[in-house]
């Protein structure tokens, strides 16, 4: 049940999504990845991809124009 952070601040599409996909491969079931994002399109496509994979996703707006996306690897 480890927790990892992925710093995607200052990255534009599609880099945050590609980095998230790559990182999720290395996680074990039950682990949580927190993706830090400040690119509004990535707040759309990262959760969209993760939900399609069947993972649990939660988005938190931590500051103006900055988000943390929690992704739990469920399988």
């Amino acid at each position: 049940m480890a927790e990892y952070r992925l710093d995607c601040l200052g990255e534009a599409c599609p880099v945050p999504l590609l980095k998230t996909q790559k990182k999720m491969e290395t996680l074990k079931v039950g682990d949580i990845l927190i993706v830090e994002i400040d690119h509004s399109c990535a707040v759309k496509n990262v959760p969209e991809w993760a939900r399609k994979e069947g993972y649990n996703v939660e988005i938190e707006e931590v500051d103006d124009g900055q988000w943390e996306i929690y992704i739990e690897k469920t399988k």
Partner: protein
Amino acid sequence: MKIQDNPYYKKLLKDPWSYTSGAVILALLNIGLLASTGKAWGVTTPFSYWGAWIYKVLGGNPESWFYFQQKAHAEAIKAGFWMDAHSVSNLGIIFGAFLATLLASQFKIKKIKSWKQVVAAIIGGLLMGYGARISFGCNIGALFSGVASMSLHGWVFMIFIFVGAFIGSKLLVKYFM
């Protein structure tokens, strides 16, 4: 109730609109722009004028260049910024985008993450600017306005956008991942 919790604020100003509503609004506004200015919408041609005006301020003489001797361009740089409809509409795009970001309270000055980003942005910008001049427009002037006016060149542009995006994606994965 705080405005942040108001469902209409969320729906209209905070959350992104769907691609479909964006497309319909873009089409309607484009009809209005064409009807009121009599010219198909373009974005990058004014940038060449902005460059010419800046160059003139610095003491250059862009009027002597072949490009700025073309009738439409010559008249436009002579008439000035506020007489060029698309220069003004570009200004509107920048202010509109800024306003939308402020209303959603998502304004943030982002840090530059690496020198690679700077290099890629400069090379990409130069290629886009050069490409937009030799193809008579960018994805707005050549593609959007081209397709909307049933011109073949817009469709040719679209095919090669995919070729360019494919190569660009490969380079992106190679250098930024």
